[in-house]
Every structure is written in C-alpha cells, then in structure tokens.
Amino acid sequence: MADPRTIDIKDQPGFRSIAILCLCVLYVPILILMIFSFNTGSLVTHWEGVGFGWYGSALLNEEFHRAAQNTLIISTSATIISTIVATLAAIGMTRVKPWRGLPAAFMVINLPLMVPEIITAVATLSFFALIAGAFGLNFGIGNLILAHTVFCIPFAYMPIRARLEDMDLTLEAAAADLYATPWHAFRRITLPLLVPGIMSGAALAFIVSFDDFTITQLVAGPGQTTLPLYIWNQIRRPMTPEINAISTILLLVSILFVSVSFLIARRRAK
C-alpha cells in the first residue's frame, strides 16, 4: 500500500513521531516486565539468564492456585449473569418505541461507568456491611460476584446494543410477515445475528471482572483473594520475578480476550 505521493496533504508534521512515541511509551514498560519474568536470578531488576523457573514456582504455589480459582469462579459467574441480563436489556431498549423512561434506563445501565471506581468500592462495601449487620446476610464469594456483575453489565451491553442497532430490521419484519411468532423470529433470526455482539460483550465483561482490583480489594472478605489481590500481597513482600511471571500471565489473558473481542467486532464491520 505504498502511497505514490511522497507528501499526503492529510499529513501533519511531527504527528508520526508522536504516534510512534506513544506506542513505545505504552509498550516498553509492559515488555520489560514480561522479559524479566524469564529471568533466572532472584532479583526483579538484575538480569542473570533465561529460564522458566519463576513460572514453575508460580504455578506450583498453593496460594496462587486458590487465587486463580477464586478469580475464575467470580469472573465466570459475573460474565454469565451480566451477559444474559445485558442481552435482554439491549433488546428491551432497542426493539421498543421510544418511551419517557428510556433515557433514565440508559443512564442506570451506564451508571457504573460514570461513578469513579473507588466510590463504587466503598459504597458496595457499606452496602454489604449494612445487610450483614441488619439481616445477617452474607453471600460469601457471592458478594464479589454481585459487585462484579454490576460493573460488567455496561461493558457487556455496549457491543450487544451496537450490534442490534446495526442489524437489518427488515429481516425481523420479513419473519413476522411469514407468520413467525415474536419468539420464533427472535430465536431464528435475531439471536443468531446477535451472537457476535454477545460474544464480544462477554469477552469484555470477563476482562473487566478478571482484572478488577479496586472494588475487589475493598469488598473481598478473608479467603477471597483473587489474582490481582494476590499480586498486591506480593508487592508488599520482598519481590522476586515470580510476580513478573504472574503479571505476564494476567496480561496474556487480557490480550487474548481483547483480541478475540476485537476480531469478532472487525468481522462484523466487513
């Protein structure tokens, strides 16, 4: 795709260098962190040799197992619940005649995105403390699943809604004309077309839940350590490259899910 003209009138001087600078700024620290996870020495910053030893000691670590297990339980549950309710909400808010409560409903769905995380964190903590004190209710790890579901909903909602809005409405109308019941039309026409949106939404919900630190740290009870909390506990001890290894695993999970979500969305655009 070489441009025959050497100077494009759209180009602005210096913008290319700034773009490349930004890319370096964003990636160099992450790459350094990843590279040091393969260090054989026991210092986080002093290089001794290439090895996978720290991955081994991370993966054999009992605490790491428990944290990984908690994380998976919480993120999977929050992803499933939030994706289901977000799909329903997206249909309920696009396939309707506009009504007065719609903007308010939209605001409620997006609320978790507008409130700074630390406020959500202390509010959720206060809420669970209150229901534990007043009614003796404590859902254990369910507390975290509920807290995560709340902020996962808008992330799952966005791609699903975008997909519904892009969809060709004449297909649904055609199904209705051919005497399909609304349920049939949904099941056979809308849902299959919606699947990429749902997958993309679920992937985003999973990442935000998997990576959450702030809300989890304040809401988590004893024994509810997740992977980000595990990393935080490690930071406060003398650090070994094991922390780099675990961080790298977390980054790779994020990269995997972002790429999946991104590729699904790209295919839609074609």
Partner: protein, 309 residues
C-alpha cells in the same frame, strides 16, 4: 375490504404495542441488579455520611454532620472550637491538579496519535487500533507495577544511568509526585486516544482537501478545520481521562507509597486504618459532586452537537 384492512392494521398496531411493552420488561433484570447493588449503595453512603463513626469501623445510627465538618475543620481538644484544617482540601486540590495535567498531556500526545491512526490506510489502521486497545483493557495494577519496576532506585533507569557513569547514586523517583504523575499519564493515555480516534475516523477528509485547495496551510487546516470538527471526540476523551484520573486509587497506592495521597486513597483509608466510615462516605460524595459537575458540562456541550450530526 377497507374495513378488514383497517382492522388488520389495528390488530397489528395492538400486537406491536404489546410486544413493545413486553420488550420494555426485558430491561428489568439489568435495571434491578444495578438498582439494588449499584444505586442503592450510593444512597447508603449518602445516609452514612450523616451518621457517627463507630469506634471499630462501621457507623452508629446517630445523626451528625461531623463528617462534613471534619472535611474542613478539626475540633480543638481543649476548648471544643472548630479550627480550619485544609489537609483534606489540599489533597483534593492536588488530585485535581494531577488530573488536569494528566488530561492536558494525554491530549497533546493523544490527538496527534489518533489523527495519525485515522489517516492510515484501513488495513494499517486496524493494527494501530488493536495496539492501542490492548493496553486500554490490560490490568491497571500490572501496568502500574511495570512503571514501578522502571523508576525504582534499583530500577532500569537508575541502573542504566549508573552503568553509564552519569550519576553516582540513584535518583529517587518512586514515591514522589513525579511518579504519580507519570503513572497517571501512562494509565490513561489509551483512554484519550481511542475516543479521539473514533471521532477523527468519521471526519470527512474531503474538507481537508477543500481547505488545502483554498490555500490553507497545514497549520490552518489543523486549527480551523480538523480540531473544530473533532471537538466532541476531544471533549469525550478529556472526560474519559479526567474522571478516572481524579478518582485514581491504584496509581497513588503503588507509586505514591502512602506518602503522597490522592482522593482515592484518602477515601479508602477512612474505611481501613482510619476507621471513620462517615468521613470516607462524605469524601466520596464530595468527589462524586466534582464528577457530576464535569459530566454536566459534557452533556451541556455535546447534547446540541450530537443532534446536528
């Protein structure tokens, strides 16, 4: 014939109305979940902020405005008078300053980047978007940790400088204001680039050509055509950086080391070692008020423009 037609139309309208109503109910589960576990907790901290602190964390159900008074004043132990103590206010103003500086620098770096991305051929553009999207969604704690490794006393920068013999002892960067500022910039740069890009991507570049044909210089095209047209994206990007930067928690926690606080750690502290939940709630609500002011300006500035296209 005409009667049956109109009847059919009526039935159809009724059926449509019924579906529309039923569809509205589909939004209910999501709204109920966010309502109970998202909105209700915010109301609870509003109530809590007017209660008294219990000695071991939590609240006592006695009305009190102490939390808000304590935000600005401290009661003298001897004569019970209120004395103005600006400690919290200073942390709020400092956080505001951090957030403003972060927003401005992110904009200065992010705008050229987003513009450069938007002017690439489509295939290249996708790669750029993916490359910026990955850090956007990557674990903030891990990314902050990556910065920490680089700027520590025995970190990469100091090791390199000492290795080259430029300095004799490490320059202290970690646990300084500089560290927090750097961390915020690093954390939120993708939050600026992506909304800017989605706005610039839709820009009609024929307008740039037209301006060029009319003998506008590159600089004039930038300031008189491109920037005004991408203003909604600029405002959205600034807000997406400013709000999380103002309420940042992870960045100052790790890079400030508990010495240099921002609003986020201050609030969390009241729920931990501070054991003053009402004060923490009041501080959270004051932060929320600042965010609402920012959002209000955003809505007021964009609602008109979105309708025009």
């Amino acid at each position: 014939m005409s009667i049956t037609l109109s009847k059919a139309a009526m039935f159809e309208a009724q059926a449509e109305k019924a579906t529309s109503w039923r569809n509205r109910l589909l939004a209910l589960p999501a709204l109920v979940i966010i309502g109970i576990f998202g909105v209700l907790p915010l109301l609870i901290i509003f109530v809590y902020s007017f209660l008294q602190a219990a000695p071991y964390g939590g609240v006592q159900w006695k009305f009190s405005t102490d939390a808000y008074l304590n935000f600005l004043f401290q009661r003298d132990i001897f004569d019970d008078t209120l004395q103005f103590t600006p400690d919290f206010l200073i942390i709020y103003l400092r956080s505001f300053l951090y957030a403003v500086v972060t927003t401005v620098i992110c904009l200065l770096l992010g705008f050229p980047t987003a513009y450069f991305m938007a002017t690439r051929p489509p295939a290249q553009r996708n790669w750029w978007v993916l490359l910026i999207t990955i850090p956007f969604w990557s674990n903030l704690l891990v990314r902050t940790l990556a910065i920490m490794f680089i700027i520590r006393d025995e970190g990469l920068i100091n090791n390199a400088l000492m290795g080259l013999g430029l300095i004799e002892k490490p320059i202290t960067m970690l646990y300084t204001n500089f560290a927090i500022q750097l961390g915020l910039l690093y954390s939120f740069l993708p939050f600026m680039i992506l909304p800017l890009y989605s706005s610039l991507e839709k820009l009609d570049f024929r307008l740039v050509e037209a301006a060029n044909d009319l003998y506008a210089t590159r600089r004039q095209v930038l300031w008189r055509v491109i920037i005004p047209l991408s203003l909604p994206g600029i405002i959205a990007g600034c807000l997406l950086v400013f709000i999380p930067a103002l309420g940042a928690y992870v960045t100052p926690l790790i890079l400030g080391g508990g010495i240099h606080l921002m609003i986020g750690d201050l609030i969390a502290q009241q729920f931990g070692s501070g054991r003053n939940w009402p004060l923490g709630c009041a501080q959270a609500l004051i932060l929320m008020a600042a965010v609402l002011v920012a959002l209000y300006f955003y809505v007021r500035n964009t609602s008109g423009k979105i309708q025009h296209g």
